[in-house]
């Protein structure tokens, strides 16, 4: 008897191609897993609609399952749209270790630019930071500067 948890453990090996410390499970883009008559059904959703890494992630899911003896059907949809709140606590810790500030708690209540100011620096935890650009090197990151350690850093953007 295979439970979705067994499959999720396997999928934990698949990392975000742009953030190799973060698994797709911790990123929150795997929205549904079901095993029906030996076929694994996986549903995924992108962090941003225009995310160019989606096809690669989908293929990696198929490959990892195949390596472990599973045939799978992977569907990308927006049934449960991604928000930055879907990143697990383990994922947030991994992001910070990687040098990326994790998104703050509740993305849905974020209303204006204030939410991007004073993001805690992932290196020295200072709040004496400023937003340099709400758009960064990938769709899901913003650029900030820490006045305490005088380093530029990026945040995984809050999206509700």
């Amino acid at each position: 008897m295979t439970t979705p948890e067994t499959i999720l453990t396997l999928l934990d090996q698949v990392k975000d191609p742009e953030i190799p410390v973060l698994s797709l499970v911790d990123l929150g883009v795997i929205t549904h897993v079901e095993v029906i008559e030996e076929l694994v059904h996986v549903e995924m959703t992108p962090t941003f609609v225009g995310c160019p890494a989606m096809d690669i992630m989908k293929q990696e899911v198929i490959d990892v399952l195949q390596k472990n003896g599973w045939t799978s059907k992977v569907e990308i949809n927006f049934r449960q749209p991604w928000s930055s709140d879907k990143i697990s606590e383990k994922g947030k810790i991994a992001l910070k270790k990687f040098g990326l500030a994790p998104p703050p708690g509740d993305a849905a209540i974020i209303a204006d630019i204030d939410f991007l100011e004073h993001v805690p620096c992932p290196r020295c935890n200072s709040l004496n930071t400023e937003l340099k650009n709400p758009f960064g090197p990938t769709l899901c990151r913003s650029i900030h500067y820490c006045r305490s350690c005088r380093e530029t850093f990026e945040q995984f953007k809050p999206v509700g």
Partner: protein
């Protein structure tokens, strides 16, 4: 079920996003500041990704593959409003267009979260959050430059005067307005335009900029029915140049 009304809605939205996304991408490497270069490039990527998602919905309704639809159509088969196809010109012009279009687009997607067409409502739930960054960007710069120097104010005012008739063209009524409203697919262009006006007024009121008298303007219609300016076909030729070298290539 007859899907002509729904398809028309999806096509005009997708074409707006593809064409404006392409115009935004023309700022890559050309922005007045590095940050603006990155901002317009990121918004381009978002918009083209959103257009792809809409072309995929159309494909599910029986239309051709997204790449074929995006790259192989002639200008007269595009439904984007004229506002989106105008050349970028100076930064103030692009900024005003970004502000006028994205305010409307954010409201359109917000309303579509309630659409009776579930795949569109689900997509809207996602896109809506992304667009916050676009309107945040537009509003921040309009407020900053709209109250800064004589030059920044007069440049923005001139672009606002020039682009306002085109912005009204976003809301060119569809032949399917009543059907879309009746079937709860979309609230309709007239309602959207009224909300849009409130939205842009509230930002402009925080600046030295003045909204032109709308009654004296003739909306620049035509884009929704394929009557485009001379600027669209050259854009399409450039955008599809590589694709057309070998339309069957695997990328």
């Amino acid at each position: 079920m007859n899907n002509e009304a729904l398809k028309e809605l999806l096509y005009k939205m997708a074409d707006d996003l593809l064409i404006l996304g392409h115009r935004n991408s023309e700022w890559t490497g050309m922005g007045p500041l590095l940050e603006e270069d990155i901002a317009f490039s990121s918004m381009a990527q978002d918009k083209i990704g959103q257009s792809l998602a809409l072309y995929q919905l159309l494909h599910q309704l029986g239309e051709q593959e997204p790449d074929t639809v995006a790259f192989m159509r002639h200008a007269r088969l595009f439904h984007n409003c004229l506002l989106t196809e105008l050349p970028n010109a100076e930064y103030d012009f692009s900024l005003i267009r970004h502000f006028l279009f994205d305010t409307a687009d954010a409201l359109r997607w917000k309303s579509l979260t309630q659409s009776s067409y579930t795949p569109l409502a689900q997509l809207a739930g996602k896109v809506r959050g992304e667009l916050r960054y676009h309107t945040l960007h537009a509003n921040t710069w309009i407020k900053r430059l709209g109250s800064a120097t004589d030059e920044s104010i007069s440049r923005l005012q001139q672009s606002l005067n020039e682009l306002m008739p085109y912005a009204l063209g976003i809301f060119e009524p569809s032949p399917f307005e009543e059907e879309l409203i009746k079937r709860n697919i979309f609230e309709g262009e007239r309602h959207l335009q009224a909300q849009w006006l409130l939205g842009i007024e509230s930002v402009l009121n925080a600046t030295e900029l003045r909204l032109p008298d709308l009654k004296s303007l003739t909306p620049a219609y035509g884009g929704r029915v394929g009557k485009h300016s001379l600027h669209l076909q050259p854009l399409l030729d450039e955008m599809s140049e590589v694709f057309k070298l070998d339309p069957t290539a695997e990328w």
